[in-house]
C-alpha cells in the first residue's frame, strides 16, 4: 500500500513554499514539476521589484528549503481519481501516489505578445517582452539590445483589454516596468526612457518609493496613454502611436527599443488538471477559489487547495504569504478529517 502524501502540483515559488511549510508541520509533501528544475518564473528573473533585490538569492533560499522534500521533476500528471477522500494520482513517469490532499500551485503564463499584433512583436526586431529584457539583464546576451538611445515601455500588454479577453489587471507590470526602466537607464545612462501607462498602480510597500526613484534619480518619463500601433520607418526604427491623454493630443515617437509588459494569464494546460479534479475557472480564466475571503486557499472540491498566481495575478510576497496560509489550511483539513496521514503520525 502506498504511503499517503500531500501532492503539490507546480514547483514555482508557491509550490516550494507550501511544500516547505507542510514539511515543517510534519506532513509529507511531494512536489510534481513538469520542467527539469524548481523555480518557475522566478528562475527567469534577474532582480525583483520594488528594490531590485537579487532574484537568484531568493530562489536559492527557497530551493535550499526544499532539499529534503520529495520532488518529481520532468513529470506530468496523467490521471487523478478520487475515492473516499483519497486522490489516486498517476504520473507520466509511471509512478502513482495516493494523496490525502492536493495543492495546486500551477502559477501563470506570461501573455503571448504576438497576440497583440499591432505591437509588432515577432515582426519588428526591436520589440521585446519584459521577460526577454530580464533575461538580458541576467545574461547580457541579446543582439536586439544594442546601445538604445530611446526606449519605450508599454504597460498593460494583455491586461485590462477585452480585445484579448483579459479584462483584469495583472498587478505586477506597473512596478516591473518602472524597475526595469530604472535598470535599463542604469545600463544605458544616455538613453531616454518612456513608460506608456494607463494608471500607475503603485499599491504595495515600497512601490511608491520606486516610482519616486524612477522620476527623481532616473528621469523616467511617464506618459499616460496606451500605445495603439507600432510601425517601422525607412531607417528601420520603431514608430509608436499613442495619445498623450493628459495633454489630450495624439503623439508619435521614434524608438530604438520597445519593451512590452506582458501580463499574467492562466497557465496553459491547467484545464486538463482542472477537469480531472472537477474544478471550474473564474471569469478571468484562472482557477476558481471557494470564496474571496476565507476560502482563498480552497477550491470547491474538498481536499484540493490552491496557492499563488494560479487563482489570480499575484506579486511574490502575496504568493509566499498565500503558500504559507495554504499549508495551514491543509494541516487543519487533514486534522479535522482524521485522515490516515494523521493517524500514522499523531
Amino acid at each position: 500500500m502506498n504511503e499517503h502524501k500531500i501532492l503539490i502540483i507546480g514547483g514555482g515559488p508557491a509550490g516550494m513554499e507550501t511544500a516547505y511549510q507542510l514539511k515543517k508541520l510534519g506532513l509529507k509533501p511531494v512536489i510534481i514539476e513538469r520542467s527539469d528544475k524548481l523555480g518557475g518564473h522566478l528562475a527567469q528573473w534577474d532582480r525583483l521589484f520594488p528594490a531590485s533585490d537579487d532574484a537568484e538569492a531568493l530562489l536559492e533560499k527557497m530551493r535550499e528549503q526544499c532539499i529534503d522534500i520529495e520532488k518529481r521533476l520532468n513529470t506530468r500528471i496523467t490521471n487523478i481519481t478520487k475515492e473516499n477522500n483519497i486522490f489516486h494520482v498517476s504520473l507520466s513517469n509511471g509512478n502513482s501516489y495516493d494523496a490525502d490532499a492536493i495543492v495546486l500551485c500551477t502559477g501563470f503564463d506570461l501573455f503571448k505578445a504576438e497576440r497583440k499584433q499591432e505591437y509588432g512583436y515577432g515582426i519588428y526586431n526591436n520589440v521585446i517582452t519584459n521577460a526577454e529584457l530580464e533575461h538580458y539583464f541576467k545574461t547580457h546576451n541579446d543582439e536586439r539590445i544594442n546601445e538604445p538611445k530611446k526606449i519605450g515601455f508599454v504597460h498593460c500588454v494583455g491586461s485590462r483589454d477585452v480585445k484579448v479577453n483579459n479584462t483584469y489587471c495583472s498587478k505586477v507590470c506597473c512596478a516591473t516596468a518602472l524597475k526595469q526602466a530604472c535598470e535599463i537607464k542604469e545600463e544605458f545612462p544616455d538613453s531616454d526612457v518612456y513608460c506608456f501607462y494607463m494608471d500607475l498602480r503603485m499599491f504595495g510597500k515600497g512601490y511608491e518609493d520606486l516610482y519616486l526613484k524612477a522620476q527623481k534619480d532616473f528621469d523616467i518619463k511617464c506618459v499616460r496613454g496606451r500605445v495603439c500601433e507600432v510601425s517601422e520607418n525607412i531607417e528601420g526604427k520603431l514608430v509608436i502611436k499613442a495619445e498623450d491623454t493628459l495633454l489630450g493630443t495624439p503623439m508619435k515617437m521614434t524608438l530604438d527599443l520597445l519593451v512590452l509588459m506582458c501580463g499574467m494569464e492562466k497557465a496553459s494546460g491547467i484545464e486538463r488538471i482542472q477537469n480531472m479534479l472537477n474544478i471550474k475557472s473564474n471569469a478571468d480564466g484562472f482557477i476558481e477559489t471557494r470564496d474571496t475571503f476565507y476560502g482563498l486557499n480552497h477550491t470547491k472540491e474538498e481536499g484540493v487547495f490552491v496557492a499563488g498566481a494560479c487563482t489570480s495575478p499575484k506579486t511574490l510576497p502575496d504568493t509566499i504569504a498565500e503558500a504559507r496560509a495554504a499549508a495551514v489550511e491543509v494541516f487543519n483539513y487533514l486534522k479535522d478529517n482524521g485522515q490516515q496521514t494523521f493517524s500514522l503520525r499523531f
Binding site: 497576440r115 499584433q117 499591432e118 509588432g120 515582426i123 519588428y124 477585452v162 480585445k163 484579448v164 479577453n165 500601433e229 507600432v230 510601425s231
Partner: protein, 615 residues
C-alpha cells in the same frame, strides 16, 4: 346534357376578378414609382429580344421550376415546382381542353355569355363537360390527373415541412400569423377538394386513373350523389375564392410579384428607395420561405433570428413598425448570405442600404480639412513615370502589421515597382461611411482618394482590405487603373512565376471574407494560392456559404458579446476538418478571429511570405 352554368362558380369568378385587378393596379403603381430613367430602361428591356428571351427563360426556371431551390434543397425544390408547375400545367391544359371540348361549342350563345363562361369553364371543366371516348380526350384526362397527383404530392411534403421542418433539412422556419395560416390552409385544401369534386362526378363526366378509378370507384363506390357532388364543387370554388381574396395580403403575393421582379431585374434596375418602386416588387416577391433564417449568422445569438431578412422584409411590408425596421436595418452585418440562399435573389441589402440612407443626421459631416491634404510622399518620388503599382493597405491593415509587412516583402521578392501610398495613414476609402447611410459624405472621401491615386501615375492598385476593395470596385472611377485585392495580385504573381513558393505539409482552412467572396466571387484565387503552399481543408460552409467572422463594420449596433457568439460559430465551421492554421484575406476577419481562435489565424499574404522561395 350538362348545364352550362351553376351558381357555385360565382365565388371563384369574384375572387379571380379581384386578384387580377389588384395585381394590375399594384403593378402599375410600382412601375409609376420607378425613377423616370428606370422606367425607360424597363420598357426598353421588354422590346429588346435578348432581355426578353432572358425574361422568358427565367420566368420558367424560377417561377415554375424553382431551379434555385432544387440546387440547395432538392426536396423543397420538388415541393415548390410540383405545386407551381403542376398548377400551371393544369391551368394551361384546362384551357386547351376546354377549347377543344367546349360543351358550348355548338351552342348559339351571346358573346358576353361565352366570354364569361370562359372564365370558369377551364377550372370547373369536369362539371360541365362529358368526356368523349376519343384518345385525345383520354390523354387530356390522364394529364390532368397526373398533374393533380403531382400537386397533391407536393402538398404532402408541405404539410410535413410545416409539422417537422427538420425532415426537409431546415432548423427554423418562419413564424406566421392567422392570416397566413388561413391562406395556407386554403391553398392546401384547393387540390384535395378539386380531387374530391372531380371524383364525385367522374362516374358521369369521366376522368382518368386518379379521379375515376381511385377517387370515384374507391371513395364514392362508383355512384353519383348529386347533392354531395354539388357541395364539393361549392367548397372547391369557395376555397379558391378565399385563397384569391386573401392572397394579396399574404406571402403568396410572391407568385405574381416574382414575375414582375424578374422583368424589372433583367432590365437592370436596382433599389433606390426603400419603400417604393423596385423595392416594393422585391418586398412582395418574398415568399417568407425562411431559408435565410438558418444561414443568417445573427441567428446564432438568442432571439436575433428575428432580425433576419425575412422578418425585415415582412416589417417593411407592413408599413408600420418604423422603429423595428430601423433597428433591424442598423443591426444587420451586411454579410449577404441571405441573398445568396434566397430562391428569388431578393437584394435585401440594397433595401437596407436605401433605408440607412434615409436616416436623418442633424449634424452634417464636414471634410473641408481634406482640401489642404497633400500627397506628400508622391511629391518626393523621383521617377514618377515608371511607377506601375500602388499599394493601399487601408485603415484596418495598420492594425495588422503582419499583412503590410508580408506585402512589402512580396512586392520586393516579385521585384515590383511599387509604392505603399498609405504607409503613414490615409483617407478612409468611404465604404464605412456608405454603410452608415451617408452616401454624399462618402462620395467626398472617394473623390479625394481618387485624386490622390490618380496622381500617383500607377496603372494598378493593390488593396489588402476587402472593405476597401468593394467600394473601390463599385464606386471609384479610376479609369485605366486596375483594382486588385492582394489575393488576386499574389495569385497572378504565382501563375506568371514572378514569385516562387515552397511547399509545406501544413493544413490550411480558408475563410472567405464576405466582401471578397460573396460580393465579388473571389473564391478561386486564394484557394489556388493555398494549393501552391500546402493542403487546403474544407470548412463546413465555404465560399458563398461562408459565415461572417462577426467583426463586420456593416452592423452599426451589434454588441461585442453578440459579435463573439458569431465569431465562435464561424470558427467552429472553419475548423471542422482540423486544420493547422486558419487563413483569411481581410484584416478585420483576421483580428476578429485571432481574439477567439484556438489555432493560429493568418492572412494569406503572411503564409505566402513565409513560404517564398528566395533562391
Amino acid at each position: 346534357m350538362r348545364p352550362i352554368f351553376d351558381p357555385f362558380v360565382l365565388p371563384f369568378v369574384l375572387g379571380m376578378t379581384f386578384v387580377l385587378l389588384y395585381c394590375i393596379i399594384g403593378m402599375t403603381r410600382i412601375i409609376f414609382q420607378l425613377p423616370k430613367e428606370d422606367r425607360r430602361k424597363f420598357v426598353r428591356s421588354l422590346i429588346t429580344p435578348k432581355t426578353l428571351w432572358k425574361d422568358i427563360k427565367e420566368l420558367f426556371n424560377d417561377c415554375l421550376f424553382h431551379v434555385k431551390i432544387w440546387k440547395r434543397k432538392p426536396l423543397l425544390g420538388y415541393m415548390h415546382s410540383s405545386i407551381a408547375f403542376g398548377w400551371f400545367m393544369i391551368i394551361i391544359l384546362g384551357h386547351m381542353e376546354s377549347v377543344a371540348f367546349s360543351p358550348f361549342k355548338d351552342m348559339q350563345l351571346p358573346l358576353m355569355e361565352k366570354m364569361a363562361s370562359n372564365l370558369y369553364l377551364p377550372i370547373f371543366f369536369r362539371f360541365f363537360a362529358i368526356e368523349d371516348a376519343s384518345l385525345k380526350a383520354q390523354i387530356y384526362c390522364f394529364l390532368m390527373d397526373f398533374f393533380l397527383l403531382m400537386i397533391i404530392s407536393g402538398i404532402v411534403i408541405a404539410v410535413v415541412k410545416k409539422k417537422k421542418p427538420k425532415n426537409v433539412g431546415l432548423k427554423r422556419v418562419t413564424k406566421f400569423g392567422i392570416r397566413e395560416d388561413l391562406v395556407r390552409i386554403s391553398l392546401w385544401t384547393i387540390f384535395p377538394l378539386r380531387f374530391l369534386a372531380e371524383a364525385s362526378i367522374a362516374g358521369i363526366t369521366g376522368g382518368s386513373f386518379l379521379t375515376e378509378f381511385i377517387g370515384n370507384k374507391l371513395i364514392f363506390g362508383g355512384s353519383y350523389n348529386e347533392t354531395l357532388s354539388l357541395i364539393l364543387w361549392w367548397l372547391y370554388s369557395i376555397d379558391l375564392a378565399i385563397f384569391m381574396f386573401v392572397l394579396p395580403f399574404t406571402r403568396y403575393m410572391h407568385i405574381p410579384a416574382e414575375a414582375l421582379l424578374i422583368l424589372l431585374r433583367n432590365a437592370g434596375l436596382k433599389t433606390t428607395e426603400p419603400r417604393k418602386g423596385y423595392a416594393v416588387a422585391e418586398i412582395y416577391s418574398c415568399p417568407s420561405c425562411g431559408l435565410c433564417i438558418d444561414v443568417c449568422p445573427m441567428s446564432e445569438v438568442k432571439d436575433n433570428y428575428k432580425n433576419t431578412a425575412v422578418y425585415f422584409i415582412r416589417n417593411i411590408r407592413k408599413r408600420k413598425r418604423r422603429r423595428d425596421v430601423k433597428n433591424m436595418t442598423e443591426k444587420c452585418l451586411m454579410c449577404g448570405k441571405c441573398i445568396e440562399v434566397c430562391p428569388l435573389g431578393i437584394e435585401s441589402l440594397d433595401i437596407k442600404m436605401a433605408q440607412r440612407a434615409k436616416t436623418y443626421y442633424k449634424i452634417k459631416s464636414d471634410f473641408s480639412y481634406l482640401e489642404s491634404c497633400k500627397d506628400t510622399e508622391s511629391q518626393s518620388r523621383q521617377d514618377e513615370k515608371s511607377l506601375k503599382t500602388v499599394y493601399f493597405a487601408g485603415c484596418m491593415s495598420h492594425l495588422t502589421p503582419k499583412i503590410t509587412r508580408s506585402m512589402k516583402s512580396i512586392f520586393e521578392a516579385a521585384k515590383e515597382n511599387y509604392e505603399f501610398i498609405d504607409a503613414d495613414g490615409s483617407i478612409c476609402c468611404g465604404r464605412p461611411m456608405m454603410l452608415t447611410g451617408k452616401v454624399k459624405e462618402a462620395k467626398t472621401l472617394i473623390a479625394k482618394n481618387t485624386e490622390l491615386i490618380k496622381k500617383s501615375g500607377a496603372n494598378r492598385l493593390v488593396l489588402s482590405c476587402p472593405i476597401c476593395y468593394k467600394v473601390f470596385k463599385e464606386e471609384y472611377q479610376l479609369d485605366g487603373i486596375e483594382i486588385l485585392h492582394h489575393t488576386q495580385y499574389i495569385n497572378e504573381l504565382i501563375e506568371t512565376e514572378r514569385l516562387n513558393i515552397d511547399r509545406s505539409d501544413k493544413r490550411y482552412a480558408y475563410h472567405d471574407p464576405c466582401e471578397l467572396g460573396r460580393a465579388f466571387g473571389v473564391y478561386d484565387e486564394p484557394r489556388n494560392i493555398i494549393d501552391n503552399i500546402g493542403l487546403l481543408t474544407q470548412g463546413k460552409s465555404d465560399k458563398d456559404m461562408s459565415v461572417c467572422c462577426g467583426g463586420s463594420i456593416g452592423s452599426l449596433t451589434i454588441t461585442l458579446e453578440e459579435r463573439d457568439e458569431i465569431t465562435k460559430n464561424s470558427l467552429k465551421d472553419i475548423t471542422v476538418n482540423k486544420p493547422d492554421e486558419i487563413v483569411t484575406a481581410c484584416p478585420l476577419c483576421l483580428k476578429t478571429f485571432a481574439r477567439l481562435s484556438p489555432i493560429n489565424v493568418k492572412d494569406i499574404a503572411e503564409i505566402v511570405n513565409e513560404n517564398i522561395n528566395v533562391s
